[in-house]
Amino acid sequence: MNAESTAARVENATKIYGSGSTMVTALDDLTLSFERGKFTAIMGPSGSGKSTLLHCIAGLDALSSGSAYIGRVRLGDLNDKSLTLLRRESVGFIFQAFNLIPTLDAAENITLPVDIAGGEADKAWFDEVVATMGLGDRLSHRPAELSGGQQQRVAAARALVSRPEIVFADEPSGNLDSKAGAELLGFMRHAVDEFGQTIVMVTHDPNAAAYADRVVFLGDGRYVNELADPTATQIFEHLKSIGG
């Protein structure tokens, strides 16, 4: 895999929380790449470091040692301001909860990153993303007036609207029922297929991971192995086999 086809990667990434007797090694010398235009899922048992990996590669948290790259940019070389600008321009986020600003309506939440940058949303692209996410008639609603599934779709639309290099999703369907979750993941899959969007998603749900092109398994902060284009059953069986 050459640099052009890599949207993000970590090299020898180590992340240590705390010190002394409370020291926890969340990432242990991990090296991993994420291919451009692909939907990658990261799985692993609790404490395997999958969320930590997401935070560090997305520029939300700093590695203790090693390097994280988005495109060709090494995150460790950036100061807080440059890192913020990188997140604004190159990264989209979908979190498990609290994705939206409660005082802004759906449309304003979607254009938030563009507004923060002081720019104008590309109207045609905005309409396309909104249509893809099935939000056309919900744009003037506040988050409190939307269902959980709709809220997550708004978050997904926000992540896509600035055409980021890469979208990171942390258990995006974790708080949704299976129908709303399937809907959201279907939209995300659609964004990868139609728009060539790169998505990296952390999940513990085999059904969610089955939407991905590639599922990477972590354990104790290390790479374990991966499956290409698996079904939910394959993932489930694989998790059992590696003791997750």
Binding site: Y17, G18, T22, V24, S46, G47, S51, L54, H55, L60, D61, D80, K81, T84, L85, R87, R88, E89, F93, F95, Q96, A97, F98, N99, L100, I101, P102, T103, L104, E108, L112, P113, D115, I116, A117, R158, D170, N175
Partner: protein, 559 residues
């Protein structure tokens, strides 16, 4: 981002309204003070200008060392009459004269002066006084008094009244009742007007007058006449223009109004000071509540500066609204003050309320400045929210209170020393020192508040800990930490909404209240047991639970 700030203001409008009241009051006192005193000055300005408009020149004594003007020889009256170009010569004799009511009690005199004047027929129209009832004192046994003293003490034309004078107590008949322009008296001063001969006798001014008002013939150049008179005046006398006399009169009024100004501005200062604290506290709470929201903003690309500006912009909106309302309320306060002063016998000549541009500007600057200044620290704190807080429950490490305690204790100590020194030591500005010492003490004590709250919470939690065992002790611990941190403004409140993953075994349920008030204890019954909120500073409730009750279900997020 501006839209975000505006929405933020709307979302917290109840809490912000309560805070804004303090700013409104502070600004209202400041602007009310200015409106009130400006109006007083303006009305006196009008009054004196009207009176002195007819007077071209004044002959009066020359002030020595700022004392009261000395009197001048009565012979100057004839000299003035003989001066070419002078049409009317109206001498005046004044002194101190205190009226006595029907029960033998002196009227007034506690603060405002008790003034005595002379009246001469030539002075008609050249005095600020106007006859309301009866007539001017034309005989030696007559006195004209001000209408407030008359009305307040049931005195009428024809009554006899004792007057305390430099020559002793004498009895006069009330010949008339006068007003000061349209006011009943002059800022609470009582007035006693006598004929000139009487005034000279009772004020021990035989052969003397206090001043002489001159009206010149039409077409005469007053500068030439003034120069001519100045050349012939003896030492100790001078001739000034009517305008100069007006200015001197106004200066005296300003001094009288000055004390009102000072008192009101002190009240305003206290209100603004308290308002600043309330505003700062409110913003701290709002920032703490919005940790997740601010972190989300940071995550999606808002710089620390932008987050700071959102909070400060909210303060600006509140500051402007509160200040404008404050100026409006200030005008109402000025109207109320005017009515109150009139009711208590401090007569003020009628005039419209004067709202100068300066008043509005000062009100806005004070209100806006205080609000912005108070929001700066919370705004900087908002900018420090790490973006990763949007993804997970980032625990702010329990901050050592050591530095805060040291700083708070020092500031409190300084304040106490200032108060004590001010009270004990014999120095010039003792009062100012005590006052500022009290303020410093206030600041210091508020810095120590988290410590006090923590100890109080520990003490108050003892019965619960006894009563409820493990869950009770956890509650106590929660309360202790939360109390300390809440006052410290570190993100506490938002944790109430974020405990979903921490379903413990003992019936610890996540608190779903958006806003936890007060102790953050979030008591709720869950499976018949005391439900607890995640303790601050611990990884999760499950961890706590594992530590305290050896649960088989250790939390997945425990280190």
């Amino acid at each position: 981002m501006i839209r975000l700030a505006l929405r933020g203001v709307l979302a917290h409008k109840v809490r912000l309204t309560m805070t804004a009241v303090a700013i409104v009051l502070g600004v209202a006192f400041v602007s009310g003070t200015y409106v009130f005193t400006d109006s007083i000055k303006a009305s006196f300005d009008t009054l004196f200008s009207d009176v002195n408009a007819g007077v071209d020149l004044y002959v009066r004594g020359v002030s020595e060392f700022g004392n009261q003007l000395p009197r001048i020889p009565e012979s100057l009256v004839d000299e003035m009459l003989a001066t070419p170009g002078v049409e009317i010569v109206a001498p005046s004799v004044d002194g101190i004269a205190q009226l006595v009511d029907k029960n033998g009690e002196a009227i007034g005199g506690n603060g405002p002066p008790t003034l005595g004047f002379s009246w001469v027929p030539e002075g008609e129209g050249l005095t600020p006084l106007e006859i309301r009832d009866g007539d001017w004192p034309r005989h030696s046994d007559e006195v004209t008094i001000d209408s407030f003293a008359a009305d307040a003490n049931d005195l009428h034309v024809g009554d006899s009244i004792d007057v305390i004078l430099p020559v002793g107590v004498e009895r006069f008949n009330v010949s008339g009742i006068a007003t000061f322009g349209e006011a009943d008296n002059l800022l609470g001063a009582t007035l006693a007007v006598f004929s000139q001969e009487t005034a000279q006798r009772v004020f021990e001014a035989e052969g003397q007058v206090s001043s002489i008002a001159l009206v010149l013939s039409a077409g005469v150049d007053s500068t030439i006449v003034q120069t001519r008179i100045a050349g012939s005046l003896p030492d100790g006398a001078e001739v000034v223009t009517g305008q100069a006399q007006t200015d001197d009169n106004l200066e005296a009024v300003d001094e009288g109004v000055g004390f009102i100004n000072t008192i009101l501005l002190v009240i305003a200062g206290v209100a603004v000071f308290v308002g600043a604290f309330l505003i700062q506290n409110t913003f701290r709470i709002i920032v703490a509540q919005r940790t997740k929201e601010l972190a989300l903003l940071r995550a999606v690309g808002a710089t620390a500066g932008q987050v700071t500006r959102v909070v400060v912009f909210e303060a600006i909106v509140i500051g402007i609204v509160a200040s404008l309302i404050g100026v409006g309320v200030g005008i109402l306060i000025a109207m109320g003050l005017k009515a109150a002063f009139a009711a208590f016998g401090f007569g003020i000549p009628a005039s419209a309320l004067i709202v100068k541009v300066r008043t509005i500007v000062v009100g806005l600057v004070v209100g806006l400045g205080v609000t912005i200044a108070a929001s700066l620290v919370p705004a900087r704190k908002a900018a420090k929210v790490p973006p990763v807080a949007a993804l997970r429950d980032v625990e702010t490490p329990p901050r050592s209170l050591g530095r805060r305690v040291a700083a708070g204790a020092s500031v409190t100590g300084l304040g106490v020393v200032m108060v004590v020194v001010g009270l004990v030591a014999d120095i010039g500005n003792a009062l100012a020192l005590v006052g500022s010492g009290a303020l410093v003490t206030f600041v210091g004590v508020s810095m120590l508040a988290p410590l006090v709250a923590r100890e109080f919470a520990r003490f108050a939690g003892i019965p619960i800990a006894r009563w409820r065992g493990v869950s009770g002790r956890l509650a106590q611990g929660n309360y202790v930490e939360a109390a300390a941190h809440r006052l410290d403004g570190v993100g506490v409140d938002d944790r109430c909404g974020t405990g979903q993953r921490d379903r413990g075994v003992l019936g610890f349920g996540p608190c779903r209240r958006r806003r936890c008030t007060g102790a953050h204890l979030c008591q709720r019954l869950s499976g018949g047991r005391l439900g607890l909120q995640r303790p601050h500073g611990q990884r999760s409730i499950a961890c706590t639970h594992r530590r305290t009750a050896s649960s088989p279900r250790a939390g997945d997020r425990c280190p």
